[in-house]
Symmetry: C2
Subunit: 352 residues, 2 copies
């Protein structure tokens, strides 16, 4: 026992998903995008000598570009080191009342981790039997509300009206909608930030923009809430976004054509893959994301997970109540998903 | 007044130093290194397609390289988005007892900002009349200790024995030594991490390695404390270090020759500049950093600061007790510092 133990913040260590190095592995376990970021950054050469200076603390290059893209004022955009950084800053900035914050029982696995780490009380509201959010559960006194739309790992989307009802019924709380997967067929709640003063929309470059390796996320809201976020960020680390992120991140925003094409490819592959899964005995939740959440009628998910892993296909299995018979499978290329189907066919027939 | 105001974390917004865009400005206000990072990264081309994947959460490429460089085990190294991120994580991880943490009254301006933001009680211990840390002030019950060595903005170094006394006298506290400037002529306390279980050494790539724009900092300690740091980091954001940081950061470590040469150039320029300042009526604290802290015998610092700014030379002025007659001037190239001296000569003679 160490004599300084009373000084330590004890946290339940979060274990990040596997990042295997074997390039033969088909990696469908972390919702990465198979197509890579816009090729227009391929031949960009960065002036490495400028790295001697601190980056712009305002991250102006990227903030201004995102504001323009979304038709907002720059004061309405906040950027961070991936949406995890942005969401953690939101928790730190907006969830300080001591009242319980609310989020679904089945949702992004970091919400309770942040709440625990930041000593924020919280309550998980159960999804219904179809894995849908019950909006009336959120019409109660609370310290804040957060959920992804579409939800993860279910992939299920709610409508903008649904979100508006929650925002409207909680004028004294900040509502954070994590739109990490919104580009894969969902409708954004972004227009509501002009109508309500308590809504924050969070996005990421890691999924639809295929730039997980650069770590870029952002929040959009009214200038008042964005200023509070910036005040906390400046009190934590003034220079979070490094120069390659600012330069390469702002550059790919201009390539709308590539963005739309690759997103549409993933949507088409997802719908084709879903139909194929259903043909071989899976039930698949209706996904508006770049992954599907599926359960087989006969074979336990853990068994399929292990057998796929043996065949060098990595998907995600959650050993958690209600979802422990589901697999979350990221949508890769058509070729990759065909390979998954053919392996699953073998696994299913061998198990019969 | 908003009805959600009770949810907001109100912080004193920290104002980061100016980052002017005018390239004619001689920028000596944020302790940047004039020489740029090792030229061996100039012609490196990054495979932008790999950005589609998340970076290694362990940041292994960089952690392993730093461990090798410092003759440590990888479990003794923690990396973050600049030393500000590393220090903020240290505050979050190690300063949780509710007891007051201790640091000097004149020191890095972020310590009290982090303490305020994270609700950590603190006490500032006054430097003596020569701006030196009084080690006996730290032999009292506390929740942790942090200071830079050399201290900033004074530039004054303490010995390794001095640090050992503080570490030894505080077995129940974690002691964090921020060695941001240690490469400019100081002796590191690093060997003490094998002898004591309560010491953490923090470093940055922003000063001696001239890579402020990439945002890389790191901590070195025993594997137990590093594991606590990683547990908190993984509970906050698993992937803080982006791929360009990992790749370019680990690459420059191999260029020891360039590193030693540019650091020595800055040391030589500093000593030459100090002598020149003294000749024109400044008293200069003995600096072991890449900046000097200087006061003129007749002319108030604020006046010199404003006049230098008019002449497109940016230095740093702190409007704070005890140091409001000092200027902090970063060491640039010989040419830049000659220009500063010649402008100062004009300013001083015009004021007589």
């Amino acid at each position: 026992m160490y004599s300084w133990m009373d000084k330590i913040r004890a946290v339940e260590p979060y274990v990040p998903g596997e990042q295997p190095k074997d390039s033969k592995i088909i990696k469908l376990n972390t919702n990465e995008n198979p197509y890579g970021p816009s090729p227009r950054i391929k031949d960009m050469s960065l002036d490495t000598n400028m790295f001697r200076k601190y980056p712009d603390p305002r991250a102006g290059l990227l903030v201004d570009k995102l504001a323009e893209y979304h038709n907002l004022k720059p004061e309405q955009v906040f950027v961070g080191v991936g949406s995890d950084d942005v969401l953690a800053m939101c928790f730190m900035t907006f969830f300080n009342s001591g009242k319980k914050i609310l989020f679904p029982d089945i949702t992004y696995s970091f919400y309770d981790v942040w709440a625990e780490m930041l000593r924020i009380p919280y309550e998980r509201k159960p999804l219904d039997k179809d894995f849908k959010i019950v909006k009336e559960d959120y019409y109660t006194e609370n310290g804040g509300i957060v959920f992804p739309n579409p939800n993860a790992p279910t992939g299920i989307l709610v409508s903008v009206d649904f979100i508006e009802d929650i925002v409207k019924n909680n004028p004294s709380s900040i509502v954070i909608i994590d739109e990490a997967y919104i580009d894969f067929g969902g409708e954004t709640a972004l227009p509501l930030i002009d109508k309500y003063d308590n809504l924050v929309i969070v996005r990421t470059f890691s999924k639809s923009r295929s730039m997980a390796g650069l770590r870029i996320g952002y929040a959009m809201s009214n200038p008042v809430l964005i200023k509070y976020l910036n005040d906390v960020k400046y009190s934590y680390n003034s220079y979070t976004m490094n120069m390659p992120s600012l330069i390469l991140g702002s550059e790919i925003i201009d390539d709308e054509e590539y963005f739309v094409n690759t997103v549409n490819k993933i949507i088409n592959t997802r719908d084709r893959f879903t139909a194929a899964l259903e043909r071989i005995g899976f039930s698949v939740l209706p996904s508006k994301t770049n992954f599907v959440f599926a359960a087989h009628k006969d074979i336990p998910a853990k068994e399929i997970f292990d057998k796929l892993k043996d065949r060098k296909i990595y998907v995600r299995y959650f050993n958690a109540p209600r979802i422990d018979n589901y697999l979350r499978i990221t949508i890769g290329t058509d070729e990759e998903m065909d390979r998954v189907i053919s392996e699953l066919l073998q696994i299913c027939s061998a198990t019969k």
